[in-house]
């Protein structure tokens, strides 16, 4: 009944299912999703697509309140039902139907037809450097062609591939997919998470030269260095509940 989708404008939460499903049931399912994947949703802004459901202002407020409980901001509500749309319009600034409608249009342009289930098969491809303070969040896979700076964040429902230096925070499988992986040409993130497993300090142990550049890499060094990160192309994956990094060798 509740689907998480990605669009160029960000994450969309879709309430689908038959009109006979009660709102309480949908909210229950949404809450289960929020509880299951806090790392994906926390601090995000989403668009809520209620489809053709007929909802009162009170109903919309409940949706917004539930999301806010989990630190998720509602950037807009999409509604096909005219009455629901009017209710959304009448609510305060938290709901921006105009912006939402625009997002709907764009979302539909970019994610055609295929709408059932988690759209993890969709990959977001980004061709630029991700700088400190910038966040990429997508329910599917994320591919970045460019470096990821310290202080940047990449959060994906699926896998993360960085064709460049990965030095920011990454969270793959943030919707619970434990088969997700993180690959980078230089894998030295500040914080690396796969599903619910955290690994601090993926630093390149072999670069302990005492040079100042090491400050950058070891800025956030913590006592528990789980596994050595490398300046070579590497892949991080979950093996028996632990994050393991292996260097990829070209034969």
């Amino acid at each position: 009944m509740v689907t998480i989708k990605g669009s160029r404008s960000g994450v969309v939460i879709v309430f689908n299912g038959s009109p006979s499903d009660s709102l309480a049931a949908k909210l229950g399912e949404l809450e289960a999703r929020l509880v299951a994947s806090p790392g994906f949703f926390r601090g995000s802004e989403v668009v809520v697509d209620v489809r053709d459901a007929a909802l009162e202002a009170e109903d919309l407020k409940r949706i917004v309140a539930l999301l806010e409980t989990y630190d998720v901001r509602v950037g807009g509500v999409l509604a096909q039902n005219e009455r629901t749309l009017q209710n959304a319009l009448s609510l305060d600034v938290a709901l921006q139907p105009a912006k939402g409608r625009k997002s709907l249009k764009r979302a539909e342009e970019e994610t055609p037809a295929r709408e059932e289930g988690l759209s993890v098969e969709e990959t977001l491809f980004v061709e630029r450097r991700i700088r400190s303070g910038q966040v990429l969040r997508h329910p599917g896979n994320i591919v970045v062609r460019g470096d990821v700076s310290p202080g940047a964040q990449i959060i994906a429902g699926g896998s993360i591939v960085v064709w460049g230096r990965l030095r920011g925070d990454v969270h793959a499988g943030a919707l619970g997919n434990r088969a997700a992986v993180v690959c980078a040409l230089e894998l030295s993130p500040v914080l690396l998470k796969i599903a619910d497993v955290v690994s601090w300090h993926h630093r390149n142990a072999s670069t302990s030269t005492g040079k100042p550049r090491r400050w950058l890499r070891e800025l956030f060094s913590s006592a528990s260095s789980v596994s050595p990160a490398t300046a070579e192309p590497s892949i991080a994956r979950l093996v028996n509940g632990e994050i393991v990094v292996t260097v990829w060798h070209c034969r």
Binding site: R131, S132, G133, S149, P212, L216, L219
Partner: protein
């Protein structure tokens, strides 16, 4: 004539934005340009002090936007920077960032730009409204950073925001570089910084003891010419004018070079 607006910003405070603004502005005027240096830090104004024009401020930009004076009346002429013309547009010390908005900043710069070659805006630290105000009218943006991890992290953030606002690409000024400490590997090198920020460097200003006393006396170092920092600021001014002045990383002098007085 339509002047160019250059905003000088950094994210982190204390990296030398005001000193950089004062010196590049003065250096441009010494090269014959008509220049306004504009203090964008409402409520924490400093540019007037560094320029040594503190006691000549009568009106400020807030007086202008609130209709208490004409823009010309708020400009303070600095006669030391011949053959060009140099003016300070001060801001209010008794107000805060909400006293002016981005649209008004653009209007002020539109009016100034008709009469001058360059407008240099000294942005406040941070990424909040004061920064947004300073960025709004910019044609070019210079980001000042020190060879230090926290300053570089903030510069990276600010460069991203500048790109997101369509004001990029920003250009980088590396300030307070100490060649001797880079050589001893105690300080990040220019190469290290560029590797992280991937941004064009428009100037490298070495650490220079003359800066502190010149800021306190209100005499920008470029006015009495020959210190290492003064030369770096003059080079930046020439690059702003489009002259081909290669950017080279300052080298530390070995003992025999110092002995022979070679620089």
């Amino acid at each position: 004539m339509a002047g160019t607006v250059i905003t000088i910003t950094s994210g982190k405070g204390g990296v030398g934005k005001t000193t950089t603004t004062a010196n590049i502005g003065t250096a441009l005027a010494l090269l014959g340009q008509k220049v306004v240096v504009f203090d964008g830090d409402v409520g924490l104004r400093n540019l007037d002090i560094v320029m040594g024009l503190e006691n000549r401020v009568v009106y400020d930009v807030i007086d202008f936007v609130e209709g208490r004076c004409r823009l010309r009346q708020a400009l303070v002429r600095d006669k030391r920077a011949a053959p060009g013309e140099l003016y300070l547009l001060p801001t209010a010390q008794t107000r805060d960032k909400s006293a002016i908005n981005p649209r008004q900043m653009v209007e002020v710069c539109e009016e100034l730009r008709r009469d001058v070659d360059y407008i240099l805006i000294d942005s406040p630290a941070g990424i909040e409204q004061g920064f947004q105000n300073a960025l709004a009218p910019a044609d070019r943006v210079f980001v000042v950073t020190n060879p230090e991890v926290s300053s570089i992290r903030d510069a990276d953030r600010v460069i991203g925001l500048i790109e997101a606002r369509g004001k990029g690409p920003a250009q980088l000024i590396i300030n307070r570089l100490s060649p001797a400490r880079v050589k001893k590997q105690e300080m990040l090198s220019v190469q290290d910084i560029v590797e992280v920020l991937a941004t064009e460097v428009i100037g490298i200003v070495p650490e220079d003891e003359a800066i502190l006393s010149s800021s306190n006396r209100g005499v920008p170092v470029v006015l009495n010419g020959k210190t290492p920092a003064a030369q770096a600021f003059q080079d930046i001014a020439r690059r702003v004018l489009g002259q081909d002045v290669p950017v080279v990383e300052p080298q530390s002098l070995s003992w025999w070079q110092k002995l022979l007085g070679i620089s």
